[in-house]
Amino acid sequence: MTLISLWYGQNHGLLPMAASNDAGEVDELFNFMMTIATGLFLLVEGVLVYSLFKFRRQKGDTTDGPPIEGNVPLEIVWTAIPTVIVFILSIYSFEIYNRMGGLDPMAAGDPGPQMMAHSHHHSELVALDTSQQNIALGLGISPESQQGINPLEIKVNGIQYAWVFTYPESGVISGEIHVPVNRPVALNMTAGDVIHAFWLPEFRIKQDVIPGRETNLVFTANQVGQYPVICAELCGAYHGGMKTQLYVQTEEEYAQWIQDNTFAMKESGESVAMNPVSNSDTEFLEPYAQDMGVDADTLAQLKP
């Protein structure tokens, strides 16, 4: 039974690929829990199935079973073992969470919702006040990579039903997100209307994007590729269509992309490259673009 649990815990094949180191650690945690769960599952189901066959009542037998009302040592054992398991599990989860940057010391003080009532322009609804940057609701920088490289900052704005990414360094605005490989990326996120959630399944990270508050996510991709970005909080009828792509690129490709887009934006002065609907390759959404109410106007307004 132990062997089966150990084997299944490692070979369930249930998770998608892992595109960051943190994701790998989360997977190990999951495998560990899967092993324990398989063990407990086999134990309890084993007892049930065995009993169903072994202890069936014989026809005509109307006597009762043995009057066992309890067994204190046994009960202590099955109270103690789960206690120990959940204790280990808590510590282990805590450890992983800390390594992911969930307990980023910067994350301690949440300044609370910003007062948006005072913003007069629709554009200011996205009250990104970087002066209050001493918080992280979400995942911060993990303790190991704290010193050294400074992360690439990207602003994320969630609106019904699209993601808008702004690169403060270059001023690029895009409907899809490009990041260089092996460099920490810090997302500063907020929402323009209702709550959304920014989910990268291949990175095992997710954080609600809340209007009036800023939340953060820091991650480091370790594999070049293209990954889905999914909205995971019900945000209206087309919540299911609120998707885009994350492109993890080499340093050069990324620089190239930034350059192309900076150039394009200067040239037209318009936010051409940013209609997320046509940019994302969710073809099946095309017919609904109209209903989704994401048009150039909305996006233009959101331009800071």
Binding site: D110, P111, G112, P113, M115
Partner: protein, 210 residues
Amino acid sequence: MQGSTVDNKSQIAIASEQEAEQGHGHHEHPDFRMVGLYIFLISDSMTFIGFFAALLIYRAIMPVWPPEGMPEFELLIPIINTAILVASSFVMHEGQKSLKQNDVGGLQKYFGITAAMGAVFLAGQVYEYSHAEFGLTTNLLASCFYVLTGFHGLHVLTGVLLILCVLWRSREEGHYSASSHFGVEAAEIYWHFVDVIWLVLFVLVYLINN
């Protein structure tokens, strides 16, 4: 389960429809209404705790608190109101004491005064509302203020109505006496409860946000 030693006829008679409708059958069980009232008050206080918690969270997390442009609460009327409400609890207790000595007249007198004090409290609150410099939707604190005092006001109103009920019933000879006084006691406990909630509310709404 051991079969009936009682004969069937009497059984059927005992279990007649009418009796069942009364809610209790051949064996009177003791009166649990007081217990029910206490359990209800636990629940009711949880509603208030819910509201208070919301207010306290806002207070704790909002970058600006009290919200910009919010005038200080005018304290004169609330203080008078607090005094009236606290005093009324004592007055009411006198009423209950009178009843315990079988003095229904005393009960009526003191309960009448209590109801009047409750009415004055409500009037004070209406006055406060109509002279406030902020409306329900002005800002968060204002909204909390109206919802909390309003919800509490509804409780005061209920309390006054309960007292009036007791007064109405006490006109009947012998309805309340030293030995039968559930209605009186229930109304009183409820009133004390409303009183205590007010004290908490007074601190949490008026005092700490000024």
